[in-house]
């Protein structure tokens, strides 16, 4: 295949992400990965629920005393909005509008970076309070669950940036359209996991 084959909005396929065999394979394989990731996070959630507020008797840290909702609310809104901006990016991808897609992906990356910055601030704050990874069973379970999600955010951001930079001069073609599509799917999945994190860890944590 000619990687540099040019398309116009009128010759661009309706579903460029699955128009080639490679695209189809990636699409199926990636959803299989997401299904497996669901199970990974389920085990981390189950561990967290089992160890919540547990640890050495001297540990004075509990979910109800530690978590603060305003920060979590801001992080939730930012990540949810970044999910929408990546929907906009894919809308423009399907319309073969490369510049608009890159712009929306750029906004998505900025929102993701803000989210990551707030999460780092939050973790740093906890560590300064004396709530570190090894403080208690609760702290280990919390940092592992939320930290694994944060690592996914970092990976998703790196993925977006790598795709944007690598393809900046190529424009959209049959080779990179599936890549952009899957990165956006990954980003939505990160938001799906966060919905359960803010509900199960933070909201249910504050209730006690």
């Amino acid at each position: 295949m000619d990687l540099n084959k040019r398309y116009t909005a009128q010759s661009w396929p309706d579903h460029p992400e699955t128009a080639t065999l490679e695209g189809k394979n990636k699409f199926v394989g990636f959803w299989l990965l997401l299904a497996a990731e669901t199970v990974t996070f389920a085990s981390l959630f189950a561990t967290y629920l089992a160890l919540k507020d547990r640890g050495p008797d001297a540990s004075e840290f509990t979910a109800a005393g530690l978590f603060e909702l305003p920060l979590v609310f801001a992080m939730t809104m930012i990540l949810l909005t970044s999910s929408l901006t990546s929907v906009y990016a894919m809308h423009h991808m399907k319309n073969h509008n490369f510049k608009a897609m890159q712009a929306w992906l750029g906004i998505t990356v900025l929102l993701g970076l803000t989210f990551l910055g707030l999460e780092i601030y939050e973790f740093n704050h906890y560590v300064h309070l004396g709530f570190g990874f090894t403080t208690s069973a609760f702290s280990s379970a919390f940092f592992t669950l939320v930290g694994t999600h944060g690592a996914h955010v970092l990976f998703g951001l790196s993925w977006f940036i790598a795709l944007m930079v690598r393809n900046s001069k190529r424009g959209l073609n049959m080779y990179n359209a599936p890549k952009f599509y899957l990165a956006a799917l990954y980003w939505h999945f990160i938001d799906v996991v966060w919905v359960f994190i803010f509900t199960v860890v933070y909201l249910m944590g504050v209730i006690g």
């Binding site: 299904a35 629920l49 089992a50 909702l69 809104m77 929907v87 006690g208």
Partner: protein, 110 residues
């Protein structure tokens, strides 16, 4: 080889029709987004208002489930044509996830 795809150039009318269809879809996505924001607001407000935990927990879990369904079906297009196999993967994953959480929580807290 694997990348070869027959090129089809759409007529102007067909092109305009597709573009219009896509902007309608985008409007639906915006509606889903508004609903998601609304559900999130309800969840946070309920907790901030300090209702009984027995009332809040089932409701916010339900709100989370609804929000995830919106993400999967609208933002991730799981309801679209050609998503049968991947939906099967995803639901299997969610089933195993549910059993995992249920089993561990039951063993520890029953």
């Amino acid at each position: 080889m694997a990348h070869d795809t027959p090129e089809k150039i759409r007529s102007h009318a067909e092109h305009e029709y597709l573009k219009k269809k896509r902007s309608t879809e985008m409007r639906h996505q915006l509606t889903s987004f508004a609903i998601m924001i609304f559900l999130t607001l309800i969840a946070f407000t309920m907790v901030a208002a300090g209702f009984s935990a027995y009332l809040i927990v089932p409701i916010i879990l339900l709100l989370a489930a609804v929000q995830v369904v919106l993400q999967l079906y609208h933002f991730m297009h799981l309801s679209n044509k050609g998503h049968g196999t991947v939906a099967f993967f995803m639901f299997s994953g969610m089933f195993v996830a549910f059993i995992t959480v249920l089993a561990l929580v039951t063993i520890v807290w029953w």
